[in-house]
Amino acid sequence: MLYREAGQFKTTYAADQQLFPIRQDRIGVITLLVVAFLGVPLFASEYWFSAILIPFLIFALAALGLNILTGYAGQLSLGSAAFMAVGAYAAYNFQLRIEGIPILVSFGLAGLTAAGVGILFGLPSLRIKGFYLAVATLAAQFFIVWCLTKFPWLSNNSSSGVISTQQLIIFGHELTTPVEKYLLVLSIVVVMALAAKNMVRSTTGRAWMAVRDMDVAASVIGIRLMPTKLLAFAVSSFYCGVAGAMYAFCYLGSVEPDGFSLEMSFKILFMIIIGGVGSIMGSFLGAAFILLLPIFLDITLPFIADLFGLPFSSATVSHIQITVFGALIMFFLIVEPHGLARLWQIAKEKLRLWPFPH
């Protein structure tokens, strides 16, 4: 009913090829953007911005980056956190060493730096595949963290290797409140997500998917493997790098190399597995699931415990939270191995046919 398309006729090629071909989707996305840009800043509290929305958007962007590489181009990577670290440290150094450089330019350059590093660590992908490639990208994870610890120049000779980010100044205005930071992060994420959505349905995206599905066949039909794979690494690392820069500048305010651990890479990988491999929306759903569910459980469990008069300590709550979280992950993967995005897609298909499924 919601998705009844009766009366929607496409009379031009442009209408047929647009980003969201169904009218309801377009309305939905626009409403969503209006809510995110105007509604949320009016109603959300500081806690919501600093602890939930900003990290959600940043991790969604990182997951999107990984999804381009793993979901669309089929190259498994365990180095996402390391590329985020490159972005964070690069943005810090650009701000530090180039007088008067605008912060957005720094973010862009940080993304490009990460893309460069990504290409370097993407080189093995030309020879090795699958799990073996994952192990090779693991090298990126360890090497980059080691490198940032080893060379004090990168952290401006900070005695501890921890960097504290500079002020966020855009057009002479300093962003200090969580709302302003949220709007900045949101704008960047929206632009980059739309770019990704377009990219994956372009020639480049189709080439990635061809390589993912069978690289021998792809090369037979004339797709050059090396540029395609390396481009996927570059674009993916660019997204991760920008996410890393925002992680440092807009979220934590100070980062250390050890913070970008393998654990964080795994977290981003789990986001796309849960959300949906090879889906832009899946990156957002996965980030929401992995980041928000633990917090949600953390806050609600004590109430449930109170309700039944159970004596829960904060440690017990934590343990239960981890257990429930794990169980839910298994549940979702059993029910729908293709992730939350696939669930949504199925629901949408059904809604489009409802009430007369054939």
Binding site: A51, L96, S159, V162, L252
Partner: protein
């Protein structure tokens, strides 16, 4: 993409609304505890925060709070994870708006992430023996307090101890600095370098990669270098491994001195025999012979309100350290009440003033029954550390025994390093330092 996000959003909002209903009533001093009891360092957190909470309850039971103000707290589990720490901070922040004791995160990473935020929100951040050390300079960091002592001052104090042990001079000696290759391990290098050029000893730095459960190569190097002493900055499993490795290569343990994160029971007991004779710095002694610790066991655990699930941890180094952190926090509340009105809870700003004007004398510590749990502490605007003293303790195979009095690091050498670093931070962040001469 938000379709499944929305219900989760409203559900969390609902539960948040439920949370805020239980806000503290009047005249309760609230302590936001950003703590950890699970995860890789969970057992450390259990002992530390167990001690902290036990002392708060002790104050409530024994003297009905500070001038009638009851100590309350709420915990939030971080698992030693920076992002979770920030989430916890944001969650507890609104509850701490009316009244707030100092925040203790027991994590350098989390305190780094909170330094700017806490200053903005006017909540005092205590970092006892960890965290951002150049916050000693309170003119740049009004809301951050690396209380008692810092890594750099500790390193300097250890050098001083070795110097005294060695007849007053270290000239021509060789000292190996074996450290955890992380922010924590690298903090002390700048101080040791300064000490090395001052005291003319040779320093050899040997890093150990996290987690440090394999140190064969490092100890081979140490055997080749034949150092006179090893200063040891370990963490977690690295500590026991180092002690066992030292035994294997035959390096005398009584020439090894560790930092205060290498000197708890958890570090030496697993090393067994290899730990005997090993020394470590600390600012609080272990054991139940400290009167207040014994009294906590009697009063709090007697009333069945003890926080530890495993009461055998009472009197361990980390438990006592938790108590020492709580003693200091409660003394700050007392101090603040003297200025802002007895029997009234303090907000973050007032607690900050109190932390900056602490004066805990030996006589006061004795009256509290906390002798040797803390050194004397006197803070000011330009000295947020307040003491800079440590004790050296030695493991005799069964317990930690103090082998020195309070040793103060070389303030004249170390504090200018902090000031330089703080100045650079102020420049990067565009902070105008306060004029400390105008603070009272």
């Amino acid at each position: 993409m938000i379709k499944s996000f929305k219900p989760a959003l409203s559900a969390v909002a609902l539960s948040l609304a439920m949370l805020s209903q239980g806000a503290a009533a009047a005249e309760e001093q609230f302590f936001p505890l950003i703590d950890y009891r699970v995860g890789p360092y969970g057992s450390n957190g259990q002992a530390f925060y167990g001690g902290f909470i036990d002392y708060l309850n002790y104050v409530n039971l024994k003297e009905k709070g500070v001038n009638g103000v009851q100590m309350t707290y709420e915990e939030c589990e971080t698992e030693y994870n920076n992002a979770k720490g920030v989430e916890c901070y944001e969650r507890l922040k609104s509850k701490a708006a009316k009244s707030a004791g100092p925040l203790h995160t027991m994590s350098t990473g989390i305190s780094y992430a909170l330094i700017d935020k806490s200053a903005q929100d006017k909540l005092p951040l205590a970092m006892m023996g960890y965290g951002r050390t150049d916050a000693v300079d309170g003119s740049v960091f009004p809301y951050a307090f690396p209380l008692v002592t810092t890594y750099q001052m500790q390193a300097s104090a250890i050098v001083k101890f070795l110097k005294d042990k060695n007849g007053g001079s270290l000239a021509g000696k060789k000292i190996v600095y074996l450290y955890h290759d992380s922010a924590y391990g690298k903090e002390a290098i700048v101080a040791l370098n300064a000490e090395a050029s001052l005291n003319k000893f040779e320093m050899v730095q040997i890093p150990v990669a996290h987690p440090g459960n394999e140190q064969g190569a490092q100890w081979l190097k140490i055997r080749q270098e034949k150092p006179d002493f090893v200063i040891f900055w370990g963490w977690g499993v690295m500590n026991q491994t180092a002690l066992k490795a030292a035994q294997k290569v035959g390096f005398p343990r009584d020439k090894m001195i560790g930092s205060w994160w290498t000197g708890s029971e958890e570090d030496v007991v697993p090393a067994g025999d290899a730990a005997k004779g090993y020394m470590a710095a600390t600012w609080n002694v272990a054991g139940k012979q400290v009167p207040v610790i014994a009294d906590i066991e009697k009063v709090v655990y007697g009333a069945g309100k003890g926080n530890l699930q495993d009461p055998s941890k009472i009197g361990t180094i980390l438990y006592n350290r938790g108590v020492s952190a709580a003693v200091l926090s409660v003394e700050a509340i007392r101090k603040g009440q003297e200025k802002y009105g007895k029997g009234k809870a303090l907000n973050g700003e007032q607690t900050r003033w109190a932390l900056e004007n602490l004066n805990i004398t030996d006589a006061r510590l004795k009256a509290l029954g906390a002798t040797d749990l803390l050194p004397e502490i006197k803070t000011s605007c330009d000295n947020h550390e307040g003491s800079g003293k440590v004790k050296i303790q030695q493991w005799d195979g069964a317990k930690w025994v103090p082998v020195s009095g309070w040793i103060e690091g070389n303030k004249g050498l170390i504090h200018p390093l902090f000031q330089a670093s703080a100045k650079q931070y102020a420049k990067e962040k565009g902070i105008t330092p306060r004029d400390c001469s105008k603070e009272k």
